[in-house]
Amino acid sequence: MRSGEAEYNILIGPLEGTLMTSVYRIVQDPHDAEDAFQEALAKVWLHLAKIRRHPNPHALILRIFANTARDALRKRIRRIRRENSRPASQSYGGSPEDPPRAVDRGRVLAAIAELPRRQAEVLLMRVVQEQSYEAIANAIGCSEATARAHALRAREKLAESLADMNPNLRAEVQS
């Protein structure tokens, strides 16, 4: 049986940076990101036994964090829509100190938040956390082909909803 310290070093230690950055990049709000990070840690604690038994515990932990961050993102978008009655893309611009960007991040993230849960988690794990399809398949408990199919459908939906943002995308969708 491993001690708690050793277990932390094995399970969480190698992922510390990825976990923190991925949560922030998905949520893109300092306070909400911190809350989501804390909530994800609590979920890890609750499911520690399951994580220990999992064939790829790191992938499972990353999935927990991605899902929690996505939930926080959806909550944030709903809250903003409710409070301001404005399109989320107009008010969701990330941190004030972030430099201005060519891409409307608010729209992209809102589009991700609208994706079905499974498609969103596969896409976030793939793009934001940069996990292999094998690891993603391990984490969500499906075959690698299924994980790829989820990612493909997610990309198709995003391409459709964000077509006006990129001429290449628009041409692709129209063709």
Partner: protein, 508 residues
């Protein structure tokens, strides 16, 4: 990767490329440190769960599966241990008790005499009263029973038959308390009347506690005060036969105070003017042996009914109560109602029964007289009650004998034969009727139990003999060989009782 994938990924990467602010990173790191500490030292309440979580999966599953039943067993164990401890304490206290006081009542009718008992050592004093009016007293010791009837100013003295002291038997059961005799598992205490009680039940039944009958049943509940561990009341339900009406009886207000009671209370104290009759057996060393009862089976002409007569003793001045059953089956299991002779399965009507019964009575001429007679009686559901008594003149020399209806056997020649031979005995000394059933074919396969022969009650043994003879008659009606085979299957006591029959059948 297709071009579309590529472009979407570029959009996503650009949209999620925000750098992590330092302050946010620091706070997240704090959360990670907390998590690390928590993992290293789980809180007390989580230790078991954490320990379980670290076990191999099969061990964790086994532990989690076994935990609830184990906890339930532990809880039951605690309850049982507590009640067992309480019962052990009760037994200890009872053992140390030398004097006690209690009351008894028959709950059927509040106008029934109420009895109040004081006991010290092996002596008991009893006061009988009706609505606070003293009607009698009794002084009971291991050697004699002295009863004073205040209304008739008569005193009867007879040897103490422990098995016949109904009422005393029940309290003896409490007094000689043995935890193993009572049903204690699983036993929880209950709260009632502002007190905590342990209520234990006497399991089973099957016999009267005084050993009168093997067909009677009892249900008894003893209420023990959980605070003092002392019994407070004993609830009893008695019935003479399966299906008969339950009769409640209550012993209550037990005082186990070891208070010294004056010896004079246990000395017979009745007026000098009272008429005293002594049982002729008073000075005999012991009761007649258990097999002294003998019966003569008289089978009616139609072969349906047998009547057994027995020689028995009547005490001078004593009473004999006869109850003639008109409905052989209805007293058992049906509510009391007027007798309906048309439903008499015995094939006899009251007018036919009465002369048979009364005609069979052979009472010493000039020394007995009927003191009461009643017609069909609601309470007894078709019983006629006759009471006879010997004149209390004290001049009756010793003992005398009479013959009386003891029992009737319902022979299987009847149309409603159901495989059993039944016998009913009218026993005035106990609660009512006893019924015995002896199975014949197709049910009969084993030897008839012989415990009944140890009953001190002559009537009970006689009724059993009647049923036995009824079964024998049933087999003999088929063939002497069948009757002989029936006899040979029986135990030694039964064979000895029916020895004359066996010889007769062998000669045939």
């Amino acid at each position: 990767m297709s071009r579309q994938d590529f472009d979407v990924d570029i959009l996503l990467k650009e949209a999620t490329s925000a750098p992590l602010p330092e302050q946010t990173e620091a706070r997240m790191q704090t959360h990670l440190d907390d998590f690390r500490k928590r993992l290293a030292a789980p809180p007390k309440s989580g230790r078991l769960a954490a320990w379980l979580a670290r076990l191999p999966r099969w061990a964790a599953v086994a532990a989690a599966t076994a935990a609830p039943p184990v906890l339930i067993l532990i809880a039951i164990g605690i309850i049982c241990l507590r009640s067992a401890g309480l019962l052990a304490r009760t037994a200890e206290l009872m053992k140390a008790t030398r004097s006690y006081h209690y009351e008894a009542t028959d709950l059927i009718n509040p106008d029934q005499p109420a009895r109040e008992f004081w006991s010290q050592g092996d002596k008991t004093y009893c006061r009988v009263s009706i609505k606070d009016r003293l009607v009698g007293e009794a002084w009971i010791s291991p050697s004699r029973f002295v009863a004073y009837d205040k209304e008739s100013n008569r005193v009867r003295i007879r040897p103490t038959d422990p098995a016949l002291q109904t009422g005393l038997e029940a309290v003896r059961m409490v007094y000689d308390f043995k935890p193993s005799d009572w049903k204690t598992f699983p036993q929880k205490t209950i709260n009632e009347d502002g007190r905590e009680w342990l209520v234990v039940e006497m399991p089973g039944g099957g016999t009267f506690s005084n050993g009168h009958s093997t067909s009677g049943e009892t249900r008894q509940r003893l209420w023990i005060d959980a605070k003092t561990a002392l019994p407070d009341k004993l609830e009893s339900l008695l019935r003479s036969a399966p299906g008969a009406e339950w009769k409640p009886f209550l012993l209550f207000r037990f005082l186990w105070d070891n208070k010294e009671v004056p010896d004079s209370l246990f000395e017979p104290n009745y007026p000098a003017t009272a008429t005293v009759t002594e049982d002729p057996w008073l000075h005999l060393p012991k009761f007649p042996p258990a097999d002294s009862g003998s019966g003569i089976l008289t089978v009616s002409k139609d072969g349906k009914t047998g009547i057994t007569l027995e020689k028995a003793w009547i005490q001078p001045g004593g009473l004999v109560v006869l109850r003639i059953a008109y409905q052989g089956c209805t007293p058992f299991g049906e509510p009391p109602r007027l007798a309906d002779p048309s439903k008499n399965p015995w094939g006899l009507k009251p007018d036919e029964i009465r002369p048979i019964v009364l005609g069979q009575l052979i009472l010493p001429e000039g020394k007995t007289e009927p003191v009461a007679s009643g017609g069909v009686n609601n309470r007894w559901a078709g019983y006629e009650v006759y009471r006879f008594s010997a004149p209390p003149d004290g001049a009756v020399p010793g003992k005398f004998e009479y013959r009386r209806l003891l029992a009737r056997a319902h022979l299987p020649a009847d149309g409603d034969f159901n495989g059993y031979v039944n016998a009913v005995v009218n026993d005035p000394s106990a609660w009512g009727l006893y019924e015995f059933s002896i199975p014949t074919e197709p049910y009969f396969s084993e030897q008839i139990p012989e415990e009944i022969y140890s009953s001190p009650n002559l009537n009970v043994r006689g009724a059993f003999l009647v049923a036995l003879r009824g079964a024998l008659a049933h087999y003999e009606a088929k063939s002497p060989q069948a009757a002989l085979e029936f006899l040979r299957k029986q135990g030694p006591h039964t064979q000895a009782l029916l020895n004359d029959e066996m010889q007769r059948l062998t000669a045939k």
